[in-house]
Structure formats: structure tokens, C-alpha cells
Symmetry: C2
């Protein structure tokens, strides 16, 4: 397969020593020309220094490079943390010979510990030297924390016969809950598009991807999605049909990455879509899907491959919206395990047990009350989740 490259983008990832295990922990993305940029950020009131800085800088709608470290979230680090975030952008800017204002920054890792900025400064020459068109996997590795695999998705589209590429890189496997998942996501494209249209497209794609996944119900302080479009492919968004083309490709990239994040959820062994149908409103359906997908009792039952539909209905019952338990039907894939809120019997149980053994399946709850629906991707909750998070700082 020919390697698809997003024109004019280079990336790198190196080890600066922030990660105790000596793994790659410092990444850089660079566009040969200033790109149009858009971003969405965490809604947590506790926001890391790089998030606060990016919110300011992205108002210009322009970005040419992004520097990212893992191993330390630079969060709850006060004024010094902000100086450190700015320093990271300054190091990158001077290495690349571009204005500091065109550099954005992100951090991920432990919260509340001072960032060792000296290590980042020392690693900068190596990082800048390492950037290359096919450096995306190195970059993806450098931003991993408890992730077990690097996450890169690339898709192509065409506008007026001209091909363009969208490449996304993400990290995140814990502290994952809408809105947004705890994660960092960086999307590059060689399409040409205005800042306003890019922002619209990003918000829309985020709503159907990262705002629909959950791992453990915790929302991070550092969540960041940035998208850079440098226009070097020649494909240009000039009318609604072009926008639609780009939206489809961007949706695919973000949806693909968000599923990779859940599937790589800390300790996760299963990727499960929770679909709620027949609610009075979409909002009601979302609340129920959110409660079910974050229930520890549901998630441990999934880990145990136990078709424990009673826990699913019980979670729906505490979601804070009106339901009629004795109207609800519950399915594992196409197997109905409960009808009108009651067990369908041994045969259904046996069929459901087979579904539960799969790596991926759908749980659907039909409330039979109205037309509202919603869906969220979640994972099971395993012994390893606890192991990973009890040990995270040590």
C-alpha cells in the first residue's frame, strides 16, 4: 500500500526523559506554511496551562506547529506552569524559525507536579532535527500515556477532482468521558478551508465522535482537539457540497480515532456501543446512554461476560429521566434478553451469553415511549483498569 502523506506536514517524536520508563515523550507537528486552525477544549473548570494558552492563541485562526509532551499534564501548576507552556512554544518556534504565536502546545500525564522544562529544552534540537513527512507514528508514540497502541487514522477525499488528505493522531485511554474524552487529538489536512468552516466542521465531527465515548466517567483537565488545514493539496472548500465532502472525511477520521481510544481504554477487553431508542427526547436518550455506559456495575458485568440486563435497566432507572421500566426492551446485538422490562428466559440467556463473548457488540435499550435516540461507545471495566490507575504515579 502506498503511503498516503498529508502535503506539507512533518512530525517527530523523541524521548526527553519526562517519562520514567525512558519512552518517547515529546512530539512536534510542523506545517511548511501557516495553516488555518480550529480547536475544541475540555469543559472541566480545572484547565491545564497549555489549554488556557491555546484558547488564547487559536483566536487568530492560524497555527504552524504544535509541540506536545507526555509524562506531565502541566496542570494545577500556577503561574510557573503558564511560563513553562509558553517556553515550550518558544523552544519550538526558535528551532523551526517561525513566530512563537503560531505554535500551539499540549501536555498530558500526571496533574499537579511541576514540569521539568529543562528536559524539554535539552531535547529540542534532537526533536527539531527529527521532523519528517512520515514522522507521524513517532509523534503518536510520543503523546501516549497509558495507551497501549499509537492511534493514527488517515482518510482521503476529492473536491473538483483534486484529492486531499486528512490525518488524525490521538492519545487517551483513561479519564475518558464526554465532553470530551480525556485525550489529545491532532488533525492535519492539506485542504484549503476558512477558519469559520473549519471550526463548524470540527464541532460537528467532535459531537459524533469524542463526545460519544466513555471509559471511566472522568473528564480531563487537558482535553484538546486541534485541526490544522494548510491548503497545499489545492483542494478548496468553496461551497456547501465541498464542505459536505470534507465533513464526511473528517467525521471518519475522528470517529475512527475515538473508537480506537475506547477500545484501548485502560484495561478494556471489549468495545460496546450503548444505543438508547424510543426515549421521549434525544436528550433523555443521551442521559440514559451516558448513565448506562458509565455504570461500574454494567461495565464489570461486561468484563465478566455476564448478560446482566437487570443492571442495565437499573442504571436507566437512575438516569434522572422519565422511563416506564415495564415498557423497556433490551437487546445484546440482535438477541432480545428482556421484553417489557422482564427476562426472556433461558434460551435468550444462552444466545446472549454467546454475544457477550465477542470483542465488540451493541447493547440496545428500547424504551418504547417516543422517538428520542442516542448512542455512546464504552468499554468493559476490568481488573487491569484498577491495577493501571492504582499505580499510575509510581
Amino acid at each position: 500500500m502506498e503511503k498516503v502523506i498529508c502535503k506539507g506536514f512533518k512530525a517527530a517524536g523523541v524521548a526527553s526523559g519526562l517519562k520514567k520508563n525512558g519512552g518517547k515523550d515529546l512530539g512536534l507537528i510542523y506545517s511548511e506554511v501557516p495553516a488555518t486552525a480550529a480547536g475544541v477544549f475540555t469543559k472541566n473548570l480545572v484547565q491545564a496551562a497549555p489549554v488556557l494558552l491555546d484558547r488564547e492563541r487559536i483566536k487568530s485562526g492560524k497555527c504552524q506547529a504544535v509541540i506536545v509532551n507526555s509524562g506531565n499534564a502541566n496542570c494545577c501548576t500556577g503561574g510557573q506552569g503558564m511560563l513553562d507552556a509558553i517556553a515550550m512554544t518558544r523552544f519550538a518556534a526558535s528551532s523551526l524559525g517561525i513566530p512563537e504565536e503560531l505554535v500551539l502546545v499540549a501536555s498530558t500525564g500526571v496533574i499537579g507536579q511541576p514540569l521539568d522544562i529543562g528536559k524539554i529544552e535539552a531535547a529540542m534540537p534532537e526533536l527539531a532535527k527529527d521532523i519528517k513527512p512520515d514522522g507521524m507514528t513517532n509523534f503518536a508514540e510520543a503523546i501516549m500515556t497509558t495507551d497501549t497502541v499509537p492511534k493514527v487514522v488517515t482518510r482521503q477525499g476529492k473536491i473538483e477532482g483534486k484529492p486531499y488528505t486528512v490525518t488524525g493522531v490521538a492519545k487517551g485511554s483513561g479519564m475518558i468521558r464526554p465532553d470530551m474524552a480525556t485525550m489529545l487529538c491532532f488533525v492535519m489536512s492539506d485542504i484549503k478551508i476558512s477558519h469559520d468552516l473549519l471550526t463548524e466542521a470540527l464541532l460537528s465531527a467532535t459531537d459524533i465522535s469524542f463526545n460519544r465515548i466513555t471509559v471511566d466517567g472522568d473528564t480531563s483537565t487537558n482535553d484538546t482537539i486541534l485541526v490544522l488545514a494548510n491548503g497545499l493539496s489545492g483542494a478548496t472548500v468553496e461551497n456547501p457540497a465541498h464542505k459536505e465532502s470534507f465533513q464526511i472525511v473528517l467525521d471518519e477520521v475522528l470517529t475512527g480515532l475515538s473508537k480506537m481510544v475506547v477500545k484501548d481504554g485502560e484495561g478494556a477487553t471489549k468495545l460496546v456501543e450503548i444505543i438508547v431508542r424510543g426515549a421521549l427526547t434525544n436528550k433523555d436518550a443521551y442521559k440514559i446512554a451516558d448513565t448506562v455506559s458509565n455504570s461500574n456495575l454494567v461495565k464489570t458485568a461486561l468484563f465478566g461476560e455476564d448478560a446482566n440486563w437487570g443492571r442495565i435497566l437499573a442504571a436507566a432507572g437512575r438516569a434522572g429521566v422519565k422511563i416506564h421500566p415495564y415498557k423497556a426492551d433490551i437487546f445484546f446485538d440482535d438477541v432480545m434478553i428482556a421484553k417489557d422490562g422482564m427476562w426472556c428466559g433461558e434460551n435468550a440467556e444462552e444466545e446472549a451469553a454467546k454475544i457477550l463473548k465477542r470483542d465488540e457488540f451493541i447493547i440496545s435499550v428500547d424504551l418504547n415511549m417516543g422517538q428520542g435516540s442516542a448512542s455512546i461507545f464504552t468499554c468493559d471495566f476490568s481488573i487491569d483498569y484498577v491495577r493501571i490507575n492504582a499505580d499510575y504515579r509510581s
Copy 2:
């Protein structure tokens, strides 16, 4: 120590075969005379048959016996489940020779499986024969599910020189979240008190006990607290001072039981009080305490004995109420680990690490914004929690 007995109450617990391991699973409480009764029940919209039945019957304000089974929650069991709940009260009533309407019922265990009422009927003669004044421990064992210890608390008070006793029995170690904890709690007293005052006292005691604990954030379909007061001690609540005396004793019993429930939380190794101070309102403080105490990331860090205050502040930041992260101070017992939202350094870290090794401690968050405060008891989140809940039905 002399055994304190609540006058006129008898109890029993036997094995009917509902529990696969052959343990005690059927319990009975009996008062020699009809008692004044009050109850509070789950707010989950999915409610088990016995809860629905008790809600109706308790309107009379009278109760003389309570029959309880573990091993099956009789929930999501439809019309048949209601017939089975009624049958349980009929079996007890006819064994004891009292009106069926004076019998209340509770069930706990797996949701969504038909109740094997035949086993309960068959065990009834043995159960009725077994009742005795000191049968409370047998009863406490019969209502256990994943509990590792029976939970009984007895306290005494005096009104106008006349001593009275309050004895409470509880079960519950998973599906625990306000309001209420998933649990069953039965309180007996030989005090004489009106239905209205008893209800008031119960609501007040519940608010400071079972509505302030959390194990896993799931609210059950079967939560029930019943209190029976048969008046046989001669101590009578006739004025506000008497009521106050009874309230103090009842508060102690329910608070004691609720802490036992958290401490026995599924897989729990630590009992931790989350205190939030300095919020704008008590409601804000409660929301933050609730979010922190239910955060899987906070709870796994507690299991790992990791003073990970960043996760605590991050949870506070997503609680949905206004906070200023850079005003917040965080303490483990009396050790300040973060001041103005920032780390207090290595010394504090070392001191905090010692606190984290304790079985019981307090985490306090002072938001330094206003006068609002709240407190919730929680436990850590261990590998065994997952093990227990992945295996629960098998």
C-alpha cells in the same frame, strides 16, 4: 457485657436454598404487638415488587413483621413478581398468626430473574420456629449478599428515666450511592412514638447517614429502610426534648450502620470521608463531594495509596458547579497537600503518603469561596471490586 435486647422483638434467619452457596437467605423480624412504622425507599424509577408493595402498606403507619430474602431482588419480574412479594407476606402472616397487611417485605440479590417462591414457602415453618429475642445476628446474616460481615448496631437512650433501645440491621456493599445506598436497613425500637414523628426522625437520620455514603455510584432498585417502634419499653416521645433524645440515638444507629456498609464496600480496603468546605452553597459542596467520592480515578488512587490530589481537583472541576481552582486547598487529614490549587512539595507529599496508608482518613477540599459545606463517606476501588462484580451472577 450484658446482651441488650429491644423489648418485644424477635428475629430469625435460615437457608431456603435461594443462595447457590447454601448460606442463610431468608430472614424474619417480628414484634409481639403491632408497631408504629415508617419507611424510606429507593428513588430509582425501576423499583422492585417488594418496594412497591411496602410503599402501599406503610401508609397505614403500622407493621408487625418483616420478611426478607437475599439471593434474588424480585425486580423486573412483572406481575408475577408482585404476586410473589404478596405471597411472602402471606406465608409470614399465617405462620405468625397476624394480618397479612401488617407484614412488610424486602428482597435483595440479582435483578431480572424470577423468584423461586416455592423455596421460600418450603422454608417458612423452619423460619417461624426459629424466631427468638437474640436472633438478630441470624437475621443479619440472612440478608447479606456480597457483604462480608453482618451489620448490627444497638444503642440505648432514656426518656423521663425510662430506658429504651434502638437496634438496626443493614446489608449492602455494592450498588451504593445516595440517594440511597443500595441496601436494606431494618430498625427496631421499643420506644413509643407517633407515626409522623417517627417518619420525621427517620428522614432526618437518613439524610446524615445513608444519603451520605457511596461505594460505586450505582443506585439500587430495592433500597429500603424500615423502622418499627412497638412502645414496649414504656419510654414515650411526648415533647421536643424527647424527640431530640430519640433522634440522637437513631442518628447514631443509622450513621454507624452506614459507615459499616461503606467499610464493607465491595473490595474496599479503606473508609474515606470526603469533606468539601468553602463552597458557595451547601448544594454546590454536596455536588463536588459526590463527584469526588464517585470518581473511579480518585478511588483507584486511594487503593494504590497514592496522594493524587490532582485527580481530586480535576473531579471537583467537572462537578458542574462554579469553583476557582487556584483558590482550592486540599488536605489528607491535617496534611495540606495543595494550597491555592498547587502542590505543596515533597515534604507534604511524604507526610500525605503516611496518611494514605491508614485504613480511615479524611480528604478535605476547601474552595475558599463561601460558607457551603458537605461530607460523604466513600471507599477505595480495588481489584476485588471488579472481581466480585464480574462474577456476581455466576
